[in-house]
Amino acid sequence: MTTPEDGAIRERIAALYDTYAARLRLYVRGLVGTPELAEDVVQDTFVAVAGQLAAGRTITHMPTYLYTTARHAAFGATRRLGRGRRARAALLEDPTLFAHAGSPGNPLNSLDISVALARLPNPQREVVLLKIWGGLTFAEIAAVTGTSGNTVASRYRYALNRLRTTLEEGTA
């Protein structure tokens, strides 16, 4: 039996899904690599949020909560993989990571970006994904990753420089 409260939760979850699902999937791909596993993790994340809402708990900052939950689920899913599968799952190079090449005249394309992202160290890649496509601030990223704001900022700066260098080498 569906109560009005259940309907409200469903609407809220649907709205959250439409806003965050694609970003969450991209972020989780940077952690677990394989598309199928990333989609499972995204689904588990929304189920966890639904559980919290159904229990009447208040989520003060939804983006931070979503990314933190996705991060924990991603690490849990990676731990359950064997060593060999985990190594293969680390590959991120995928031309379908992004929807399109952006605005006309944008020299960046999906494959180049995914290759450049795959070459970043994991902590730097995570910060870039959370900042640029997750839309989080440095303080929020620090809360999600459990590190300091200064560390996050320096990782972001290094990651951007490295991304630019890799992309320039690719387009040269």
Partner: protein, 135 residues
Amino acid sequence: MILDENDFERRLEQLPPRPLDAAHRTATLARTDAVRPIDVSRRRVAPETRRLLAAAAVVLLLAVLRGSALTALAETATASAHQYTRAAEEWARYVQRVHALELPPQGEAASEPEAVPVDEDGPQASHLLRINRWA
């Protein structure tokens, strides 16, 4: 330089992540619909937790058994030590009794000459008297 430093971040943001397909959305919402408030009183133990508890119980049992075995070994060693102590004490008492008797060694007693009774007149007079009597 192909990519302007100030423009680079903005250009990255212009690349939107690829959306998930409709089937994923439907499946996710179906799963979230099935979520109900968690009743703690009726919550069952997760299989992982159950396995973990079973492993912990086995480890605890092994530890107890190992402790019992060590205790039994220590008790045996203590009993043996007590036996050796008692035997040593008995031997010490036996040696004390032997010393208390002050018995001369057997070899020395056999070689010593028999004591000769001495008369008032001296040995020589006694011998002469016996000789005279036999004569």
